[in-house]
Amino acid sequence: MVVRVTHWITVISFFALLISGAEIVVSHPRFYWGEVGNVMTPPLFTLPIPASRNMVRTGYGYVLPDQNGWSRYLHFQAAWAVVLTGLVYAISSLWSGHFRENLFPARADRTWRAFWAVIAKYLRRAPPDDAEAHSYNVVQRTAYLIVIFLLFPLVIWTGLALSPAFDSAVPAAVTALGGRQSARTLHFFVSGALLLFLVVHVTMIVLAGFRSRMRAMITGRAIIPAVLSKERT
């Protein structure tokens, strides 16, 4: 129950963060490395998109409207929602054994061989066996663990490092990343990694039967393979 509720709150917040984050990037689609960076310094790379500010030369003959005000308000409110929801999820999952039982791979599965066997099965597009219909395989578990314990903490850290007030209290938050502009660039890439996960995650759900998976994640009722195979045909 907690897993499902926190999942859907995270989905809503993540979309809010994604849209507002993209909107903020549009005001300065140039990225730098180190402490400082602006239109007078060479960029690490520039996104080939138009900008919402006229001082950034993009090669496009027009300037997009400024949407940063509400985007920033929404970005930080959604960030609070994700962080607080994540805390509830983490504490309850430690308590209930969700991490231990459902996410950490079983001892026998902690080998590259077991990992590649699952990948090969995906590539053959073989139907899931009985065990996979009821629990996550080692590749799924690894992906979820990376998202929960690596990407989300990193995206929160690199985001906090962009707050000048937070940096005044915890300067190491930004210096350890190589400076303010490095933190911004990393924030962009970690968000990209989360977006990549989202795309693969949704693709796999569609392949596994969108309606049955959605029903499972909303109602929490386990799906029996018979129902699953019926929907696939």
Binding site: I24, V25, S27, H28, R30, E35, V36, G37, N38, V39, M40, T41, R53, M55, N68, G69, W70, R72, Y73, L74, F76, Q77, A78, A79, W80, A81, L162, S163, P164, A165, F166, D167, S168, A169, P171, V174, T175, R180, Q181, R184
Partner: protein
């Protein structure tokens, strides 16, 4: 559905009552300790209030990062064209010799200070980064009079809670709470990188608030008002920024 036992009903009721009472007490405490920003209303109010309250608990006294001289940006970006109004052009033509900063509101001795009056108060410098909400930044040395020195000189009254400051551009004004107003790095800046503060960087007088985003560092400052509430200023949201959709507190 299972029938609810009397014990469960009682404990749920007690928990709900405790929750409501707790929230009310938290709101009252937050108000009392200045943890609620002027733009706390509306759709994004909860997020803003959480951010501001968390920062006030965490960063009231912390100092913005300062950098070695070698890290001063060789070509800082001047994000400004001088104000187009006649009064500013007149000041610029006379080399800003008549520029005044008026200080009023909740102070014992309201004053009108010239740039040389400001320079006769204790002067400090800092090498800090200007961070724009758009994402870009640069480092410069800022030379000025700490705002706290000006406030001490005019005698701050105890009920003061905010300092509002106004640009010669009449649509442009900002405010900060006392944590930032009394902060040692909040400067009325008149020098930059060992010279006068250029007009394109906000000269002759710019507020520098290095623990917040660049838009709090208002340019061409002509007036300060000390107040106990921001409700009487503009739409009551704290500054011109929330009126155009941006957050009042920009320490993030």
């Amino acid at each position: 559905m299972k029938p609810i036992s009397r014990r469960k009903l009682l404990t749920t009721g007690l928990a709900a009552t405790a929750g409501v009472a707790g929230l009310t007490a938290a709101a009252r405490l937050a108000q009392r300790y200045g943890l609620i920003p002027p733009d706390h209303g509306g759709l994004y109010g909860p997020g803003e209030t959480l951010t501001y309250a968390a920062q006030r608990l965490l960063t009231t006294h912390s100092l913005a990062r300062e950098f070695p001289r070698s890290m001063i940006s060789k070509s800082p970006f001047a994000n400004e064209t001088p104000p187009a109004n006649d009064m500013f052009k007149h000041h610029q033509a006379s080399g800003f010799s008549d520029w005044r900063l008026s200080v009023d509101g909740m102070v014992a001795r309201p004053a009108s200070l010239s740039l040389s009056d400001l320079k006769s108060l204790p002067v400090r410098s800092q090498i800090t980064e200007v961070v724009c909400e758009e994402g870009w930044s640069y480092i410069a040395e800022w030379i000025g009079t700490p705002l706290v020195e000006v406030l001490n000189a005019v005698g701050l009254l105890p009920q003061a809670r905010y300092v509002a400051y106004f640009s010669i551009d009449k649509d442009w004004w900002e405010s900060i709470d006392m944590a930032d107003a009394l902060h040692p790095q909040t400067f009325l800046t008149w020098g930059m990188n060992d010279g006068d503060l250029p007009v394109s960087f906000g000269g002759p007088l710019r507020m520098r608030v290095p623990r917040q985003l660049g838009y709090k560092s208002l340019k061409y400052v002509t007036r300060l008002t000390v107040t106990d509430t921001m409700k009487r200023f503009g739409k009551g949201l704290g500054s011109a920024e929330p009126e155009s959709g941006y957050a009042w507190y920009a320490g993030i």
